[in-house]
Structure formats: structure tokens, C-alpha cells
Symmetry: C3
Subunit: 467 residues, 3 copies
């Protein structure tokens, strides 16, 4: 089943014709990637190789292996490494065969779409993977991965990426970024993500504070030195090209701590004595502090909330985090964000981009908030909702109230570097089809639609992230 | 981009043909406007003039200026008056120019649709507003507003309004309504909205109680006299033509207060000593009392819940209420309405119309409730959801379970008198397109669809509001 | 309005052509009915007769009479029996006339669809019911019901039912199932539903415990004997052919009770001293126990949560349960199911099928959970959502993330035996139309679609329920 040139467009001939025309004008625009999880290591070494097809496409991609796991296929049999080093399947050909035999599980899923696109556009594979052709396709991919055109830097150029932002801990020394800056003329920018020190219940919080002390040269022994270290690191990230910060939390709770409460909680944390309420309140306070710093230093602030991380303790104990076991939660924004917005929501120096996993908040809370507060933007459909239906629900639930200019364009938000063009292409096709639907219902005209398609594909991301 | 005769209809030729036919039969039906916020002042003075284009279309319309504000345009620059009299932009031509320069923000929004419709159908303007033509269009509108055809009473007739209900405080003396009744043969009816005295945390509650004492001629010094005054005012409103009451609250909480609890809370309120729990419980109790009074006097009861009013304190302090900073909340109905429904939900003398800003409650709670309780009806898509997609979600989420006869037809719910025909037209087109979709999928036949289209456009509103 | 052969398909010619082709291949597949509420009594007596048209189509069907009740038609006038024996309308022809006069209420509703399909396909009635033809249609149905082809066993064969699971209390002796097994070669299987003894606030809980003691031959005097009795009954049900259990609860709360807490609550229950918290905690604990037993005995576990049963106390007091007054609640799954999933979610011996009335959880919680945990499946759209739009929302909200193989196919879940073919037909048409939409948008190919259509119509239900 080769990729169809009109894929994902409405079957209605009138709408499809408009969508196709809109898409022609945006399909080849450069890719702006302001938020994602590609490792900078891929680019710091000009000879970086991806390893086997399994190392490339299965082991690092929790979208892929969680679906197989849900059908009873052991993670060990897919080669997912255990924390304690217990051996797992080590033969990539056997892993690939298992994957191929269950490829039907991805029918109609975004993962299936990205895989099909990647296999065809990157590797020239137009046959659908199945148990019979699995080894031949493995051979084909493995051979291609030997070629210089498949090195990450070559693909970066081939994919027409204009800028790619990574996600990096507050204590990160950004050595790979430094190497890239010195060696190569590409915009690979770090993003400051201090969750490991801001969320007091982060695994290894104390060690991470020590690392932060070390890299900042400040002895963090109280709240004031903690804040100072964060401000210093933000300045360092900014010098290294960062345009944004990113923050993850289970909820959107914000709360200003007053009269030394932040100091008292921080001291309890240093002594290993925090309680769950401390954790929630401190994160809520720090989000306001981060907004304050963004007002001052101009870094765009991103907020990703509403995931219950590591929901499956058996998987977490054996395999660690990011194993497809993060589950969304119902998320409240109207009350929760109010303290932060009270403090900084009217300040045009701040850009706060909010991402949700709770689509019921789109039309109810987030579009009305983004449609009022100057500082607020709504991020694109995130994670489980980065899909054709997720995008449709987003366009239909958000845009009438917020208008497109209060949204932030697209983020591919991926660890899977090879899937980046496919993800942008799905978004571009979906946005063109949505706009074509407005044209054929005479809500906007074709000139409007063309401008809006370009904004969705390119302009909004650049403008929102100040890129 | 002139208005297209098939606008908002499906692009599918078969569905569009049915929709067009259905629409032809309802498009010219009179407008029934059972809930809205047009000032009766517009009609009590036969020579009322709207002022400048900016006074007419921008300054009173928070749908318009909140979108501009969200993009960093100061409310002062749009001429929104400050509470303390600090000067704001006073040149309507400059305000209009700013508006025109940002008119793109309204692409694909309901506000954009209403503005385009109003400009073309009321003023004959078929060019899209932009920075180049802004002053010419301003001139055109300003000149038109000088004409007698643009007086509110002339427009009322031109719009084919059959009845228009206003929204009025419990203490309102309804002088404008009295003048209208004496001078003019049009159905402009008051609606009894006692939020200012029922919600104990209303701004100026104590002064409003005094006004209520004054107009009712009762000295309100306890709960019993409070109830008596409300009953007297309802009787007065009814004599003045009212058919309905309206009630706003943050939640749908209802709760009968017993054994003097209402009296104790009311006394605390008179002494300025209420706490937040008192406020919630008293409103919850009063909603049941209002249902009881509706059973007795036959006034239809409307309930609008789920808005966090004045979410932005900086805007509220400087500009006051209704400035586009009211944000919806997740809203529970199944538990919350139960005490009221336990008391009066089976009573066919009561008609209780519920409006929500939380669309997730449509299929989950409100359609099942309206599809069971004889007293309950579901109001049309409200506020942010009074849009093409909001209507589609409403038709698709509500009608299968509740049936159309447990819904209340359309409300324009607007302060913007000139937008009333556009709003009804969007609803009529959207409902015809929805019904056409059922016809072409052979779920209903064309005769059914024609009857249902008429019900949605006209009959349901008249019947539900007993007009 | 006779049934159209392309009913419920998209009007788009390309999509409709694909849907029609897919449907041709699944329309005649046998019906697998793994969850429902048909009485086994219908089949244990080979000469069972349905009674009058009203006994068949109105009095037992709360989908029908709750809609009439919502419009102010007294349940007494529809012949719904009162608990205290107060007389109600006894003339079925008058009841039928009332029904016919209000048949318009069902336009565009699933009940209207099922009725139209049943009247045409079972009784050959192609005219729409109205007040004029009501008595003639009554005569026609009454005459048909005299014929041997209308006996339940004959219809079972005519409907091509392959297996039909009933729902039975833990204390049920399954005599009708025994008779069926002895007399007739059809798969009518019991399902173990112990809500009456597991939910401590069930009406008549104490008497039900006594019945359970009686049928199990165990004196249930403590938690251990209670568990023993349940295990014994599960074994009995399994011997009688059961493949599944079913559990209903207001929420999805699960919680392991430790250190004798279950025993203490059970003793309080035996003494009539439970409090609401006890009830919630005990049910939450028992759900984990039931999962443990399912791991051991292989019975598939079904969980139906989120209904506020008997919401209307006046109707409940007069007419009892299941009178169309059960109203859905917002339902949380991510936190609530975690304790159960922590214990058994990774165990491939368990199949836990979850049903929800809160569609906002589809894409937010349930699809991500089902797309990760090996033990979890998502049940089909339930109750109010067993409708064309409910199915569309389910396909669009669930399948991209969970994949179809983590769903459980279709359940008709009905007491109305005659509506079973219509309900399956709606599902088959809706799933084919959904898949056709994926084909024409080039997301899947026609071979994929054909396999997926067959899975939705037949294979998934058989495999998930181990039938």
C-alpha cells in the first residue's frame, strides 16, 4: 500500500480539491521543530550511526512497543533493556520478526501512519511489512543504514529542518550542543527543562540538586540559592541558543508561596522530609517563579500537564520510565492556572504555551483562556492526540474560540528522529483539510485559507517560540 | 467575500441539496428571542441612535474586544471605559482602524461570521474590512446610522422579531418596558433575574437588597420578607409580560436548607458575615425555592451555570465586569440538580431550562436527565458554544438521547442587537444541515426533517417559553 | 419510510460504495451476544409467548417509556406496573394508541431506529406508526405473535444467533439454563453478576446473602465464607457454561483492603451498620478479588461503571428500578483502576472489559489504558452511547490509541430480544462506514478494512469472551 498523494484528505471532491491546493503550497516549507526529544548526541558526532533497524525503530519508541505489550507480547522479547541487566532478547532479527508478525495492530493508528511514511520516504519500502517479507525488509533497512545519506546530519538537511529544539535537564552541561555549534552550521537548540529539580518527588531529586550545585558553581543550601542557580542556568541555556523552557507536572496547579513557605518546603526536601502536599504546592509555586523569570529573560514557557507517569509499577521497576505506561488524567485549568495568570497573564513579555492530554478542556477552558489572556497560547495536540482525529478535534474544539493566532503551530515532540517529516506532514495535511472544509462551507475564502495553512505549517511556530 | 447562499452547509451535493430545501422553508420565519441582553432602552425611545460604528460594534461587544486583547492590544486603545475614569482612546476612527488592522483574527470564528453577516445584510458592505478600506467603511456605517431605518424600532420590524425578552434585575422598575408597552405594539418582555440578591457574594449585594426593599415596599429584614419580596417582584414582572426567570451560578449545586438554616445564613449576609460555603448553600437553596415559585406562578425557569466570572482581576479592577474574562468550568449536573429535581422534577407545571458551558455533560448527564424528567429541558449551545461547531456537537451529542422535544430551540443571548438575525440564521442553517445529514443517511425522511427544522427554528422556543 | 439498503452510511459516493461492499461481507455473519439481559425463561419454555404488542415492545423497554415520560405522559397510562399494585392502564390498545400518537418523539433516536427495523424485519410493517394506523398495526403485530415463527426459539434461529449470554445473580439456580441445556441445542449461557451481594447497599442485600448461603450450602457468617461461597458459585456458573462475570458500580474505585478490614466491614454489613464509605471500599476491594478469581478460573471479567441508579425517588418508590431514571456520572479511571491493575493488569490470564458512560474518558483514559495493559479491553459504546453518534465517537476517540484489538467487539446489552438483530445491524453498518472513511482517506486499504470489519462484527467478541 504505497502512500497516496491525497492521503488523509476528505473524500468529498470539492473539499479534497481545495485541500490539495492548500497543501501544495505548504508541503515543502522547512520544518520548524520547537519542542521534541531527539538526543543532541545524534548530531554532535558527524559519523553517528543508528544501529540496527530494531535499535532505530522499535527499542526507543514506546508508541510501538506499548501496543505490542498490550497484546501480551513480553517487553523482554522486544529487546527492551531491563534496569537490573537481566538478559532480554538480543537478536534484532527475531525482534523484527515479532514486530512484523503483529504489524496489523497498527492499522488505523498514528504509529502505523508514521511507520508507513518513514519506511517509504526514508527507505523506499512500499510493501507492507508482514511475517513473510520481514527479513528482506530488515536487510534492506540495515543496508541503507550503512550509507552516509542515513547519518543524522544528512537526514537533517534532507528533511529540510530549519531549527530543532531538544529537551535538556537544568544540570545539563550541553556539551553536545557546544560541539554542534562549533562544528556544524545547523540550529539545534537546547530547551531548559528543570523538572528534575523543581518537582520534589522526582526520582533522584537530591542527586540532581547536587549536580545543579556543581554545574552552577553555587552551593544550593536553601531556596534563595536554588532560585539563583536556576536563573544562572537559564542564562547559560540562553547563551547556548535556547529560546524556551519546558515544565511537566501532573496537574496545572499554581500557587504563590508566601512568608517563607517556599523556604520551609525546600528545607524539608533537602532533609528528605517532604509530603505529597509539599510537592504539589512547591511545583505550583515554581511555575509562577518560572513565569516571572520568563518575563525577565524572554524565554518562552511551555507547560505539559496531566500525565500520570509510570502508572504500571511492575513495568517501571523492571524497565524504568518512558515505557508506554504514562496515562492521562482529567485536568482542570480555569482555577489552577489563575494564580499564575493573576501574576503574569496580562504581561505581553510572557508567552506561556499550555499542552493538555484532556481534550474536554479544549472548548471548555483552554480556548476561552487563550482567547483572553495576552500571555497564553495553546500548544498543538499532544501525545495520544497527535493523530488525525486528535487534530480534527483540536481544530474543531479550539479554533472558533481562540482563533489560530492564539495557538502555537505544530510540535512533533518525538524521540524518533526519522518520524519527524511524517509527523509534520500529517499535521500539514490535516490542517489543510480542515481549512478546505471551511472554504467549501463558505466560512473563509481561499486567500484566507492559504494564509492560515501557512501559519499552521510554519509561521505560528516560529513566531510563538520567537525563532 | 460576499455571503454565499449555501454557506455553512455540507459540501456533499446530496446533503447540501436537502439542507438548502429545508432552509428555504424556515429562513423567513419570525425570530423568537426568549433570552438575551438587549437593553430595553433601545426601544423605549423611538429616536434612539446607536452612536458611532465603534459604539455600536466594538465597545459593547466583549466577543470582539477580548480577541483583540488576547493578542496584546490594550483595552484602552479600543475605547473600553475605565471604572475610575482614566482616559482611554476617544477617537472612534482610530479605534476602528485598529480593529480593521486585526480583522484577520476573526477568521473562522463565530464573531467573524456575525460581523460579516451584519455588515452585509444591515449595511450592504460586501468588501472584507481591512486596514486600507477601514475609514471608507467607517464612513459608510456612520452615514447609515443617521438614517431612520437604522433606529432600533425600525430594525426590530425589519428583522421580523416576533418577541424579544430582555434580562432584568429583581429590583428593576421596568420603566422602559412600561414606556414600550404604552407607546408601541411590540412584544419586548422582561425576564426576572434575581442573581444580584440571590447570590450573596454579588457585588453590592446589600445595596441591591435595599433597592429590592424600596421597590417592593417591603422592609427586607429576614428570610421571610426576602422571599415575600421576591414573590411580589415575580408577580410584578409577570404583570409586565414576563414569561421567564433566569438564574446564574458558578455550579449547578442545589440543596434544600432546613430548620432555619436559610434564615441564619440570610442574617449573616445582612451583617456582612457570610463565608464561601454560605454563599454556595444559599444559592443552592434558592434555586429550589425559585423552582417552587415557578410551579406556582408558571414562569419558566432558566439556569445558566458553569462560568467563572471576572477571572482576570487586573481587567476587572480597571474595567469592571463583562470584559471577556469569564471562563467556563467543568460542571456536574447528575448529583447537583438532584435535590431540585427530587422536589419538582416530576411536576409538569415546571419548565426548567438548563444551559451549560461544559459540553462533556451533553451526552453524559444533560441529555439523559432531559430525556427522563418531565420538568427539564436543555437550552441551546451557550456562549462559546454558540458557533457552528458548538451547534454540531450539540445536535450530535444531545438529540439521540433527549430527542429534539426536550430541547428549548434557539436563544441568541446577545447584547449586540444588530447580530440577532445573523445568530438565528447560523442556527437555522446549522440545524437544517444536521437534519439533511440524517435524511441522506436514511435515518429520518424529508417530511420528518421539515417538521424538525421548523421546530428548531421557531416552534420549540415558543412552546418551551410559553410564548 | 421503508428501511433503505444504504441506511446510516456516509452520503459521500466513494465512501458509501466502500461501506456497502464491506457491509455485504459481514451483514449475514452469525450474531455473537456476549452481554445482555434477555430472560432465559424465553427459551426454557418452547411455547413461550410474548403477550400483547404492548407487553412485548413498551412495558419492558425503559428506552421507550422514559422518553414518553419525559414529555409528561404518566407511566401509569403506559401500563407500567406499580410496586404497591395501584391499578394502571390495563387496556393494551389504549397504551398502544398513546405510544403511536407520540411516535414522533423517537425521530432521530436509536430507539426509533430499532423500532423501525424490528417492525419491518420481524413483522413486515413498512408504514410508519401514527395515530391513524395504530390499531391496524396493533392487530397485525398481535396476529403475528400468535404464529409459531414468533416463538423465541424460532426467532433465535431466524436471527442467526450463535451464542447469547444472559445476566444472572450470584444466587441464581440457573434452572432455566438447565432446562435449555437439556432440551435444546442452543448456546444460551449464564453470566455471573454478584452485584446484589458485593455492593453492600444493594436493596435486599441481607436476604440475598441468605439466598447465597442457601444455594451454596455454606453458612455465610464472615468474609471468608462469603468468598468461599462466591468461588463455589463461579465454579457452578462455569459448569453451566458461563464464560464471564459482570460487575456494576457507581465508580471505578478499586482498593485492596488489608489486615482484616474486609472482615470488619462485612461484619458491619451483617449487622446492618455499614456507612457509605464502607460500601465504596468494599466494592473496590471485591473488584480486585473478582479479578483474582478470574485469573484463577478463566472467567472474563466485565465492569460497568458510572451510572447513578434510580435517580428519581418518586419514580423509584412507585415503580421500582430500571424505569429509565438511571443517569450517568463523570467517571475517573486512571487513579481508580490502578490498584486492580497493579495487582493483575499484567497478567494475560485475565481479560477485564471496561464499559463507560463518560465518553470524555475514551481518548483521555480508557484508550491509553487499554493500549498498554495486557489484561484490559474496552467494551463497546454502552447504553445511551449505543447509537450511531455514540459509535462514531467511540471509533474516532478510541481506535487510534487502543487499536481495534484492544476492544471487545459489540454487545447488544438488551432486554428487548426482538431488537437484537437491529442493534447488531446498526453496529455493523456503523463500523463499515467508519472503516470506509479510513479507506477513502487512504489510511488503510480495502483488505485491511475487510479484516477489521469482520473483527468488529464477529471475531473480536468471540475472542475476547473466549467463546
Amino acid at each position: 500500500m504505497p502512500l497516496h498523494p491525497d492521503r488523509y484528505f476528505s473524500p468529498d471532491p470539492a473539499q479534497r480539491a481545495v485541500a490539495r491546493q492548500l497543501y501544495q503550497d505548504v508541503r515543502a516549507l522547512p520544518l520548524v521543530c520547537p519542542h521534541g526529544h531527539v538526543e543532541p548526541l545524534l548530531f554532535s558526532n558527524p559519523d553517528y550511526r543508528f544501529g540496527s533497524p530494531v535499535d532505530l525503530l522499535i527499542i526507543p519508541d514506546h508508541y510501538v512497543f506499548r501496543m505490542l505489550y498490550s497484546r501480551g507480547i513480553a517487553l523482554e522479547s522486544l529487546g527492551i533493556p531491563t534496569l537490573d541487566g537481566t538478559p532480554v532478547e538480543g537478536d534484532p532479527r527475531r525482534i523484527w520478526q515479532t514486530f512484523a508478525e503483529h504489524f496489523d495492530l497498527f492499522r488505523g493508528t498514528p504509529t502505523g501512519i508514521w511507520l508507513a511514511d518513514t519506511l517509504e520516504t526514508v527507505f523506499g519500502i512500499r510493501d507492507r511489512l508482514d511475517s513473510a517479507n520481514a527479513q528482506a525488509i530488515y536487510d534492506h533497512i540495515a543496508a541503507a543504514l550503512e550509507q552516509p545519506e542515513l547519518r543524522p546530519r544528512a537526514l537533517y538537511d534532507r528533511f529540510r529542518i530549519e531549527v530543532l529544539c531538544t529537551t535538556d535537564a537544568a544540570s545539563d552541561t550541553l556539551e553536545h550542543h557546544q560541539t554542534i555549534r562549533e562544528q556544524w552550521n545547523a540550529r539545534i537548540l537546547p530547551t531548559f527543562r528543570p523538572d528534575g529539580v523543581v518537582n520534589l518527588d522526582s526520582e533522584g531529586w537530591r542527586a540532581e540538586i547536587d549536580r545543579l550545585s556543581h554545574v552552577s558553581g553555587l552551593h544550593i543550601h536553601n531556596y534563595a540559592t536554588f532560585i539563583q542557580a536556576l536563573e544562572d542556568r537559564r542564562a547559560f541555556f540562553k547563551r547556548m541558543g535556547a529560546v524556551a523552557t519546558d515544565h511537566g507536572a501532573p496537574t496545572a496547579h499554581t500557587e504563590p508561596l508566601r512568608d517563607g513557605a517556599a523556604e520551609r518546603i525546600f528545607q524539608r526536601a533537602l532533609h528528605g522530609e517532604t509530603n505529597p502536599e509539599d510537592v504539589i504546592r512547591f511545583t505550583g509555586h515554581m511555575l509562577i517563579e518560572m513565569a516571572r523569570m520568563s518575563v525577565e529573560d524572554g524565554l518562552v514557557m511551555q507547560l505539559h500537564v496531566g500525565s500520570h507517569r509510570n502508572h504500571n509499577p511492575a513495568v517501571y521497576r523492571r524497565f524504568g520510565r518512558d515505557k508506554g505506561a504514562d496515562i492521562p488524567l482529567a485536568t482542570e485549568f480555569t482555577h489552577s492556572l489563575k494564580p499564575l495568570l493573576d501574576a503574569h497573564g496580562n504581561d505581553t513579555r510572557l508567552t506561556l504555551i499550555v499542552f493538555t492530554l484532556d481534550e474536554s478542556a479544549y472548548s471548555r477552558e483552554l480556548a476561552p483562556l487563550a482567547g483572553h489572556y495576552p500571555a497564553l497560547r495553546l500548544g498543538p495536540p499532544w501525545w495520544f492526540h497527535d493523530s488525525l482525529n486528535g487534530m480534527r478535534r483540536y481544530f474543531e474544539g479550539v479554533m472558533e474560540t481562540a482563533g489560530i493566532h492564539n495557538t502555537a503551530g505544530f510540535n512533533d515532540d518525538t524521540r524518533a528522529f526519522l518520524s519527524i517529516p511524517a509527523r509534520h506532514d500529517v499535521w500539514r495535511r490535516a490542517s489543510c483539510d480542515w481549512l478546505a472544509g471551511l472554504v467549501v462551507r463558505h466560512i473563509i475564502d481561499e486567500a484566507d485559507a492559504a494564509a492560515m495553512a501557512r501559519a499552521c505549517a510554519y509561521d505560528l511556530a516560529k513566531a510563538t517560540y520567537r525563532l
